[in-house]
Symmetry: C2
Subunit: 172 residues, 2 copies
């Protein structure tokens, strides 16, 4: 089963994080064409009491490195959450990809028995299986999608293919 | 491995579809409190050239029943895509839950070898593994999140817990 865990939280996450890098590049090109600073997107929100664009990327990447680290029972690198430029959030995606790329299927051998805890939920835990399926996966895609939706709403020319990234087509 | 496939596309999808029903109920309560027709949400879009709210729910549910049917190599029920009331889109969530609830882990025994085709991609196919991880999962959560974001941006009082649904906490 660890092969499928690896396929999801390493292979697919890398594909979707790379897809988000392409989306960031398209947002930059859009800003250049329309003669505004691309960094203007960083503090935008879909609603006044939602997280801004930068935070959506921070949480998506925290989810990716956190899921991989927790299910392999290792420590995740800590990122400072101080990104203030488009280059810095692009680089955060790169650092996340670099960290999770190192993991192989066998690193997740005991994934389903891990007892996952969070500092902000004292006294509570989730087992590895429920963490992966009920928390990690929906949460990762939630924040990537919200980042996408925010740029899409603000005129960046992106579509579903940009979100999904490369699809491994074969002949029918 | 079919246990994990079942856990994701049956157990988790049901949890997230039920969570979306709760979100629809909160949107209805919000509309009632603010004295407008909840159906007003149905044609709203995040951008003029994006799909409207109803279509986001239609695609999310198509993804759910489609993924389960394709990976179990059975036919999915066809829904007419004619929902015009809040009750009808709520009922579409119910019908999707009813269909996917019938599947057990052993129904997905040959999931990774399925050759998945789509009428709109003639001559092309994806194997079951790449379909699940690179298409079905990201796409399902993309449309659910976009539906959530749309209501959230328009004043419905919902948060991440509403999106995730019930978490199976254990003692730390």
């Amino acid at each position: 089963m660890e092969n499928l865990v690896h396929e999801i939280i390493v292979t697919s996450y890398i594909r979707n994080l790379k897809a988000m890098k392409t989306i960031l590049a398209k947002a930059k090109a859009h800003a250049d064409t329309n003669k505004f600073e691309v960094n203007r997107f960083m503090d935008m929100k879909l609603a006044p009491d939602m997280f801004n664009f930068t935070k959506q990327i921070q949480i998506a990447t925290d989810n990716a490195k956190g899921a991989v680290a927790r299910l392999a029972a290792v420590e995740a690198p800590v990122f400072a959450d101080t990104e203030s430029t488009w280059e810095e959030i692009t680089s955060r995606l790169d650092q996340t990809i670099a960290f999770i790329s190192k993991f192989k299927a066998e690193d997740f051998k005991n994934w389903s028995e891990q007892k996952i805890t969070f500092p902000w939920y004292p006294g509570k835990a989730i087992n590895g299986k429920d963490y992966l399926t009920g928390f990690a996966i929906p949460n990762f895609y939630f924040h990537l999608t919200t980042a996408y939706d925010l740029l899409r709403q603000n005129g960046v020319q992106i579509g579903k293919q940009d979100f999904l990234g490369e699809i491994n087509w074969i002949n029918a």
